[in-house]
Symmetry: C2
Subunit: 440 residues, 2 copies
């Protein structure tokens, strides 16, 4: 089906007033002023949007554990260790493949209703029913990492190979990533093996889209100590980043979540190796981990994208909220309101995320790009008046202002309803799962 999407403002390379987008199959064929686009499209285009809409590329959540929707609000306001050991892990031990899938369906439904069209998620993997199968049932784009831990090395490597074979590039929506969990849970040998697997996979599946490495680095300032204790290794100048660099695992395929506590000189290594950083300001605040100084990273030319982290430590998958908090925090820690202006924050949530996931045709409304597009209803009291669409997108738009969501050229969500799935079915399934998980 061909679509013509119209907006009072269309956010492309620049802001197009009274703009339109022509979509054929899953590709943006043209974008520009409506009067010009209209001339070039023939019949058979279904029209969406209009003069009361702000049209943007779909948002990208570049770090989460999407199935953790199941544990949203299950245990808040605890310390990280209590939270994990007393609350989260005992319940996670009971999770079944169908739970992981259902959690991902719930997370995809939530994400899309808030304008997020692509997610990078890392969680437990099972062959048939998992986060990938969940996203596909809703019609969401995702890069699904399979986790690697030293304590279950062989199983983890098996899972990655299985996921790659079964899911990577089998359809337009799903890619697989390798997910060494963190420097304090992955030993040096496994890091090196993960990098070899990554290179092997990118070679073998060269025509199916890049495979990235997704991980957590320096969320906690105690991480250097933890790594040294756990694996009895030396950290050059006490730096976890230098240690990983020496292992040879740092390059542009790495998407590192958090990166809160970098040493001064680490920034140059991150820049030189082209590492991508997924900034998760909400979870970092909520768990008391600190505030990553991302305006410094961005000024240095490092690619920084946005993530929500898992919905159990957030407790949503709301990238609009994440944009606003990211902007506000940098102004506060820099004591400078001009830091990280709205347009730059919007790029973190779109094109920077696409770069981090190694898509070269995503995250912008541009000719030839994938048609992941979100329509925002401007007829809301909190969106009146409008002076600057970027300012609105970061500071005023509420995630639930999202009216219509197009993913890979398909209308997945429109005015509160999904074309792919029924709320009642998923809510009933979630209720059953929670009853089982919470029973002794």
């Amino acid at each position: 089906m061909n679509l013509l999407v119209k907006g009072k403002y269309v956010i492309s390379d620049k802001i197009i007033k009274d703009g339109a987008i022509a979509i054929e199959d899953n590709i943006i064929m043209d974008v520009g002023e409506e009067r010009k686009i209209k001339r070039s499209v023939g019949r058979g285009y279904e029209v969406y949007g209009g003069e009361e809409y702000l049209v943007i590329p779909g948002l990208i959540n570049s770090h989460t554990h999407i199935s953790m929707t199941l544990l949203r609000g299950y245990a808040d306001d605890y310390s990280l260790q209590d939270w994990l050991e007393k609350w989260i892990w005992p319940v996670e031990a009971k999770l079944r493949p169908e739970d992981i899938e259902a959690g991902a369906i719930l997370g995809a439904v939530e994400s899309i209703s808030m304008g997020v069209t692509t997610v990078c998620s890392l969680y437990h993997y099972y062959p048939d029913r998992n986060e990938a199968s969940g996203l596909l049932k809703v019609g969401m784009r995702g890069t699904i990492g399979t986790a690697l831990f030293s304590w279950d090395k062989e199983k983890c490597i098996y899972n990655f190979r299985d996921a790659l074979h079964r899911w990577h590039g089998k359809n337009n929506l799903i890619r697989i990533a390798i997910g060494p969990h963190a420097p304090y849970t992955v030993d040096p040998d496994l890091w090196i093996e993960a990098k070899e697997l990554l290179d092997y996979a990118n070679n073998k599946y060269a025509d199916k889209g890049d495979i990235i490495m997704t991980t957590h680095i320096l969320e906690d300032d105690k991480e250097p100590e933890l790594v040294k204790e756990k694996f009895n290794v030396e950290l050059p100048e006490g730096s976890v980043v230098r240690y990983l660099d020496k292992l040879g695992v740092l390059d542009n395929y790495m998407l590192a979540a958090h990166m809160i506590h970098l040493h001064r000189d680490d920034i140059e290594i991150v820049k030189k190796r082209g590492i991508n950083i997924a900034h998760n300001p909400i979870a970092n605040l909520k768990l008391g981990m600190g505030i990553a100084p991302v305006s410094r990273y961005i000024d240095r030319g490092i690619n920084v994208s946005l993530g929500t982290d898992g919905p159990a430590s957030n407790n949503t998958l709301d990238i609009f909220e994440t944009m606003k908090i990211a902007a506000l925090l940098q102004k506060a820690i820099d004591r400078d309101p001009t830091t990280l202006p709205a347009k730059k924050v919007f790029e973190m949530a779109t094109i920077n995320g696409a770069k981090a996931l190694h898509y070269d045709n995503l995250g912008m409304i541009r000719k030839g790009y994938l048609a992941d597009i979100v329509l925002i209803d401007l007829k809301k009291p909190h969106l009146k008046p409008i002076f600057d669409p970027y300012s609105h997108l970061v500071y005023s738009v509420r995630s639930l202002d999202v009216d219509t969501v197009i993913i890979d050229g398909k209308i997945v969500y429109e005015k509160g309803e999904f074309s792919t799935i029924s709320y009642d079915d998923i809510y009933k399934k979630i209720d059953r799962i929670i009853n089982r998980l919470m029973s002794a």
Copy 2:
């Protein structure tokens, strides 16, 4: 009209599961388990809510300049001085009474659609058409401060007296407050005069509800220097708080916005005098002013409520968002996820606000209290599953999940529509005003 409001959870002194509230006129007659309440109410009760609703007291925005909706997003990411001098003030100079009223109507509509039922606002005052008249047209509760500045002393005092006579306690919804702007814009004599006026007014209007003093204190860490320079005064131990205390203006009638940069010993004075603090975390971040350490204030037993500040420096009137950011920030600066748990933050947005505004029958769902009640629709993907309603209220509920709003016993807002006002009328008016303000 009598109302029976039902909820899966009703937030009263405690959480009532399968609860109900009986409302007669503007008063909560009873609250408890539905099966008990139902027995005590007769016919003629209109029923709202049901098993898919979370029912809470209306939220209280205890510091804003509500008519500044007109300048939402007009000038973002500038330094405070540029923002005021080059952008905000030149436009404000063109504002007419009907603009102030229209801005307040837009702000009230926005606020109510996000579950805020009471606002404390301070802005320009005109006799007939002003923030009070705007709120009344929508049906919102408000404490309206009239601003005092040294540079226009007589006019300001006249305005306060006029507002008091014309608006205070003339209906169920509106109270007037006196608003000395800040220590660096109000000279010592005017502070003393303001306090005398306040005492006089509270005496004269003793049966009409308390009149409070609303002001800004220590938003900027340069404030002590500014005060000294401007008015050639001594600050005992360099403290603005001690200076004001020496003037005799500090007591429980004071609601001080911001209070970011208190000296160590100031906290004891604030506690001793019973000053109320309105915490505005979003505007404080956005303007690069800093983060008020409110968990310390609360631990000391000081009453801290929440505000959005003006929508031009936020850029919304969203108290749900403010709750979440307030909770997150304290966890970050204390480096402790157990700081400021959800229930305490919810109190900041409700009962603490009521205390700050000197209402003794507002901010809780309790027998004999004013019926300002908000129904939240729980049938949303981001609200599944639900373990703890307080956690949901602070971390997961989006402001636009608000389904129905009751103010002073009246259904003002239901499923996106107002009973009192038409969106089209107000949007058209706002468009006209903006066109005029922005023309040369």
